[in-house]
Subunit: 484 residues, 2 copies
């Protein structure tokens, strides 16, 4: 044993099945993704955690740019007077706002809020920037953090008082164009989460009760976690003219008549990383989808003496170069004094998609041992096939999505009987249940079972069923679930 084998380095001590919550926290901390900050409710991202966020940011930035969206910067401080300009919006965030009251020893007159979200600030600026139809559409995205004081217990990535996110804010000349933007963004979100993180999502609308405060309507993507709880993965809001009117976001049209503009806002946060950990992780720790893994392939050279070392290391170097030439993110673990077994566990804990083991015998056989993290299968890979690695990584990526889809389907239940619903909700899951559309039923169900309407999937409108709760004519079949 040596000094680096401290407590922190030991593997996960509970199973995902037995204690999901403790398992999750251990994976986050032990895979060195994040750690708790000194202030309750706040976390720090370590490089392995932050690089996943960077990878997502790069992907989104490309897709946003292709859609004509550019990035900007907004300060974190919003005057109280401004935040209150759209009353409903303000009331929604008020209980969780952090307030700055002093700078140095000076008291500040109009208290300053740490941004819970930036609609009010962005639209104050937009009102100055937009004069005519020529200035539209205006589409700006902001990568920053939002602050909302969490009263409940903290969970890294899932519930923290400050979180990394992006918030996009667009302005359009017509309602139609704004509504199309809402859907384009939701589609970008869905594709990215499915393709990069290998997590299936269900898209649709939020109910009136669950929509963003200030929006006309909110579209959302929701996923089901292995513990049967739902996680909101991202939202895209149609704001209509709810903000453009109080903030006077107006434009002169070609006929020189002034109109209030139509707006959208939308965001995803580091919650996506939390979902990825929950969906793919196992009792050995993190399992990273290849596309967002900081290291995709780790090579472990195995040798016991100098002679073997001289045989193994040149080959390792050669394989590394081949992989790099194929744009594979590869790392050689050449730490001395650590056993191969220790290294295997270490990289499994960290979720690296592929491990290559190579010792003197492998050199003789002209092959390496290839271990896949996600299904823990081992096989031999001929040296001549090393360059097929990108294909192997792609296969892993799509298989992970396939497995996640199957898991999601297994946890998804069509239901119409409320008694049955109440007995089954305890075990968790997504329940597709007909609903009359009334707030009263929605509230009663929440009160009696703890389940929300997570999403009303697109094309789930129907006229032939009866509301699970009141048995009146249903208007849609939302997904009910308990949420994070």
């Amino acid at each position: 044993m040596n000094a680096s084998l401290s407590k922190e380095d030991k593997g996960i001590t509970v199973s995902k099945k037995d204690d999901f919550s403790e398992w999750y926290t251990q994976v986050v901390l032990k895979a060195k993704l994040a750690d708790y900050a000194p202030v309750k409710g706040l976390i720090v991202l370590r490089p392995d955690g932050y690089s996943i966020w960077e990878s997502l940011r790069t992907t989104f930035d490309k897709k946003f740019a292709n859609n004509g969206i550019r990035n900007g910067f907004l300060p974190i401080l919003i005057p109280e007077s401004l935040l209150g300009k759209e009353q409903k919006h303000f009331a929604g965030f008020n209980p969780e706002v952090f307030w700055v009251t002093h700078s140095g020893t000076n008291e500040i007159g109009d208290r300053l809020a740490l941004r819970p979200t930036s609609e009010t600030l962005a639209y104050t600026m937009y009102a100055k920037w937009i004069q005519s139809w020529r200035d539209l559409p205006l589409k700006i995205n902001f990568w920053n953090t939002a602050l909302r004081a969490e009263i409940k217990g903290t969970k890294p990535f899932l519930r923290t008082s400050e979180f990394l996110w992006q918030e996009g804010h667009t302005v359009h000349a017509t309602q139609k164009e704004a509504e199309e933007e809402v859907m384009k963004i939701l589609e970008i979100y869905k594709k990215t989460v499915e393709e990069e993180l290998a997590i299936p999502v269900t898209t649709g609308k939020k109910s009136e009760k669950e929509k963003f405060v200030g929006a006309v309507y909110t579209t959302t993507m929701e996923s089901i976690m292995p513990d049967g709880k739902a996680l909101q993965m991202g939202t895209s809001h149609f704001l209509g003219q709810n903000f453009s009117k109080p903030f006077e976001v107006k434009f002169a049209d070609k006929d020189n008549v002034e109109h209030f503009a139509w707006q959208t806002s939308w965001g995803v946060s580091w919650r996506l990383i939390g979902a990825m950990i929950m969906i793919h992780g196992d009792d050995q720790g993190l399992v990273l989808p290849p596309k967002i893994a900081p290291i995709q392939v780790v090579i472990i050279p195995i040798y016991k003496n100098g002679e073997d070392k001289d045989k193994v290391l040149p080959k390792v170097e050669e394989i590394k170069k081949t992989l790099e030439s194929k744009d594979v993110r590869v790392h050689v673990d050449d730490r001395s004094e650590l056993s191969p077994g220790y290294k295997f566990n270490d990289w499994e804990l960290k979720g690296v998609p592929i491990r290559l083991e190579i010792g003197p015998k492998d050199i003789e056989k002209q092959s390496v041992v290839l271990a896949k993290r996600y299904n823990r299968e081992k096989s031999n890979l001929e040296f001549t096939e090393i360059e097929k690695m990108p294909t192997i990584l792609d296969e892993i990526q799509s298989d992970m999505l396939k497995i996640a889809k199957e898991q999601g389907k297994a946890n998804s239940i069509d239901i119409s009987d409320y008694t049955e619903f109440k007995s089954k909700i305890e075990k968790g899951g997504f329940f597709n249940a007909p609903w009359c559309g009334k707030l009263e039923c929605e509230e009663k169900i929440k009160e009696e079972t703890g389940a929300d309407i997570r999403v009303i999937p697109f094309n789930s409108e129907n006229t032939n069923e009866k509301c699970m709760y009141c048995h009146e004519q249903s208007v849609s079949v939302p997904i009910f679930a308990r949420g994070y």
Copy 2:
């Protein structure tokens, strides 16, 4: 005239020479780089401003990565008790700290500071993460904002209460390695600023009086602005064990004996953008060095009728594709209803390095008109030479640096007579003046002339001169100047 020709779109109305301060503000606002936020002292970055920051970030990230530095995330809130752990450090920042005292309606016990800088928070975490020599060096960089309440007037990019920056924090096993890191970073800073922003810098050490609070010593890079004032462009600090001791950043060495670690911290901010505007801008507006310009080449098609349009546009499209294939960032200004003259002014204001004008006569001559923004020279470029554009851009980039160096040299004066110094300091400039090394003389000079020691250039130690102020033996020849 049409609606988009609002006040904001008009050109710069003062000359750089006559009213530098007003000129600067007009360039920032009218080139749409930034705008004032509703809170005094805070600014918003518009996409054209933010993309310059993104470009710098990308360049630094590559260089940091090559140096083994990875990125992480730290929350913005630091408890008062933690901030005060290194007393001198705290005292330095205390007057400008923003304090959070409430979340919702709840009063917070231990007040929370908005980060003025993150040493105290980072090192609290580092102390948990570092156990043995195996964990070193630990090198993490954080792209975020810092908040320091500005009492004096605000200048976008130069003096704001919240600013974008990066702060790097490294931990090493030995003093030597930490000191080498300090210099490596300073070198990365210098190269990047000179190569990307075409701004020459002078590197060296800060005096004891001017060093970072908490550092053993501070290295800095300073530049002289066209108004004769000095601007600090970035600093790299050797922290010694000043923080590792109070924060207990310790490691067990190979012999299992515990040692306090050696640390560095370093940062550059969006001030660099401010410097670039000041150094290169002119009476027509912004002048962007090609390397960081979001658009490097703008093409203006010129035609008066449909026939000409049909001749011009296909060629424009062809040129655009050729340029894109050479990785040139190109934009075609195809806005109808705006005159070529209006467009010329618009893109000059925005500082785009090269403008190509192409009309029916150019098509006949098989060439385009090429206008360089930085020296406003026009010439003809044969169609066959379009693909030389990367070379032309490189030449502009190096010529801009050359011109900036000459300007800097012209504003730099060797001086040893204090009376002469006092008469000349009014006009501004960098003054290389021998100094005895005593705080007393430094303070007297500051009091009597407003000039600081900006930097003690490397290799400026000397023994043959007399202190400009007290005439005692000098120890170095610092640069004295009034600063931003």
